[in-house]
C-alpha cells in the first residue's frame, strides 16, 4: 500500500538507546529553553517606523483587506503588556499615527484603524497624544464621512468630556452633521452639535440649528420630533431668561 499512513518502520527497539536519550534530552531542553524565554508583548520602544502605504501594499501581494487587519492586530500588541499600569501610554504617537495612516491607505474601507484610534489610542490621558490621534481621526473621517462617522463621534465625546475642549467637540460634531449623507447615520450623531452648542451656552446657534433641523422634515419619528421640539422650547426659554437677566 502506497499511502502516507503506511507502517513500514522497524520496531522501536531497533533504535539505539543513546539516540532515544538524545531525542528526549533535546526535546526537554528545547521546551525548557523556550519556557524560560517566553516572548512577551513588544514594548513601546520596539514600535518601528511605519513603512509607506506602497511598501505595505507590496508586502500584501494584493491581499490588502487581510493585510490591513493583520497589521492592526500586530500594531495593537505594542505597549500592551500586562505589567503596564496604563497600556499605550509610552507609545511614540508620531510613529503610531504613521502606521495607522499607512494601514488605512492600504484598505480605506476598513473601519479598524479609526476604531482603534478613537476607542483605544485617543483615550490616552496625555492630552497632546489624544489630540494627535484626534487629528488622524478627523483626516480619516474627511476621506469617507459616511463610513467613519462613528470614530469622529467618539472623538467628539472624548474632546468634550475628557479634554473639556468644547470648541473641538463642536467642530467634530459639525463635521458629522454637514458631511454625512448616508440616511443610516443615526440622528443622535447628526444632532450632537446642537447639544454641544447648548453646553457652550451658544444658545442662539443651537436654537437656529435645532429649528432648522425640525423645519427640514428629516426627523420623521414622532417621539424624536416631540423631544427635539421640547428641547427647542427649553432653549428659547433659557434665551429669554438670559435676556431678562441682561436687561436688569
Amino acid at each position: 500500500m502506497n499511502g502516507i499512513f503506511t507502517n513500514r518502520e522497524r520496531p522501536l527497539q531497533a533504535v539505539p538507546g543513546w539516540i532515544l536519550c538524545l531525542l528526549a534530552t533535546a526535546l526537554a531542553a528545547q521546551i525548557g529553553w523556550q519556557f524560560a524565554r517566553r516572548a512577551e508583548a513588544p514594548s513601546a520602544a520596539d514600535l518601528p517606523a511605519a513603512p509607506s502605504a506602497q511598501a505595505l501594499r507590496l508586502a500584501g501581494l494584493g491581499e490588502t483587506a487581510a493585510l490591513a487587519r493583520l497589521a492592526m492586530v500586530w500594531l495593537q500588541a505594542f505597549d500592551s503588556r500586562g505589567d503596564n499600569a496604563i497600556p499605550y501610554q509610552r507609545l511614540d504617537y508620531g510613529r503610531l499615527v504613521a502606521w495607522l495612516d499607512a494601514i488605512l491607505a492600504v484598505d480605506p474601507r476598513s473601519g479598524y484603524p479609526l476604531f482603534a484610534a478613537s476607542r483605544v489610542y485617543a483615550e490616552n490621558t496625555d492630552a497632546q497624544k489624544a489630540r494627535r490621534m484626534f487629528d488622524f481621526i478627523e483626516a480619516g473621517f474627511a476621506r469617507d464621512p459616511n463610513r467613519h462617522w462613528a470614530a469622529l463621534a467618539h472623538a467628539a465625546l472624548l474632546a468634550k468630556h475628557r479634554l473639556g475642549d468644547l470648541a473641538l467637540a463642536q467642530r467634530f460634531a459639525a463635521a458629522i452633521q454637514r458631511q454625512t449623507t448616508d440616511p443610516t447615520v443615526p440622528a443622535w450623531a447628526r444632532q450632537m452639535e446642537i447639544f454641544i452648542l447648548e453646553d457652550m451656552n451658544e444658545l442662539e446657534a443651537a436654537k437656529v440649528m435645532l429649528g432648522g433641523l425640525l423645519a427640514t422634515g428629516r426627523i420623521r419619528d414622532t417621539d424624536e420630533r416631540r423631544f427635539l421640539q421640547e428641547r427647542l422650547e427649553e432653549i428659547e426659554q433659557r434665551i429669554m431668561r438670559s435676556r431678562k437677566a441682561g436687561a436688569r
Partner: protein
Amino acid sequence: MIHGPTLTVARYALIEARRSGLPWLAAACVLGALALSGFLSQVAITEGAALQATATAALLRGCAVFLIAAHVVASAVREANDKGLELALALPISRSAWYLGKLIGFACTGALLAALFGLSLLAWAAPANLVSWVLALAAEAGLVAAAALFFASALGQTVAAIAATAGLYLLARSISAIQAIAGGPLADDSLAGQAARWLVDALALLLPRLDAVARGDWLLYGAPPAAELSQSLAALTIYFLLLAAAGLFDISRRNL
C-alpha cells in the same frame, strides 16, 4: 485536439493526486487556516469576522498555490527519474498528448482544491462572491500548475522547479505594486531610473496580473462585476495557454 490518450493521462494524473497525501494536506490546511484565523479574530478589537474571512482566504490561497506547485513538481520530477515518460511514449501516445493530459489533470486537481477551500469559507461570504473567488482561485491554481509543470519538465530538478515557480508567482502578485513604486513621485528621474522603470514595465507585459484575482476583499466588499471578472479570467487563460505552449515546445524539442 483533446482525444482519448490525453484524457486517459489526465485521469491518471487525478488518480495520482487522490492517492497521494494531497487530500490530507488540503484538509490540514483548512483546519490550520481556520484555527489561526479564529485565534486572530479573538484578538481583534473590531471587525473580527472580517479578519477571519480575509485571513482564512489569504492563507488558503497561499496553501492552494503551494500544494499544487509542490505536487506537480514532485510528480513530474519523479516520473522523469523513473523514466515514466519514456515508458509512456513507448505506447501509441504523442508527446503533446502526454503533456496536455498531465496539464489537464493537474489543472483539474487545482480546481478541486479551490472548490474545497471555497467550501470552508461559506460561513463568512455571500454565495455569489464566493463563487467568483473560487473560480478565480481555480484559474490561478491551474496557471500555477502549468508553470510548475513547465519548470519541472524543463529544469528536471525539484528545488530549481519549485524556486522558479515561486519566483514567477511572487513576481506576478507584486508586479503592480512594483510598477506603482517605480512610477511614484519619489522615483529617480535620472537615465538609470528611467531605464529601471522601462524594465519594470517590460517585465509586467510578460507576467499575469495575479494580484487582481481571488482577493480576500472580494468576500467582504463584493466580487468585481461579471465583465471585469471575465476579463481577469480571460487574462489568466491566455497565460495558461502561453505556459502550455512553452511546455509543449520544450518537450517536442527535447532528446529523450
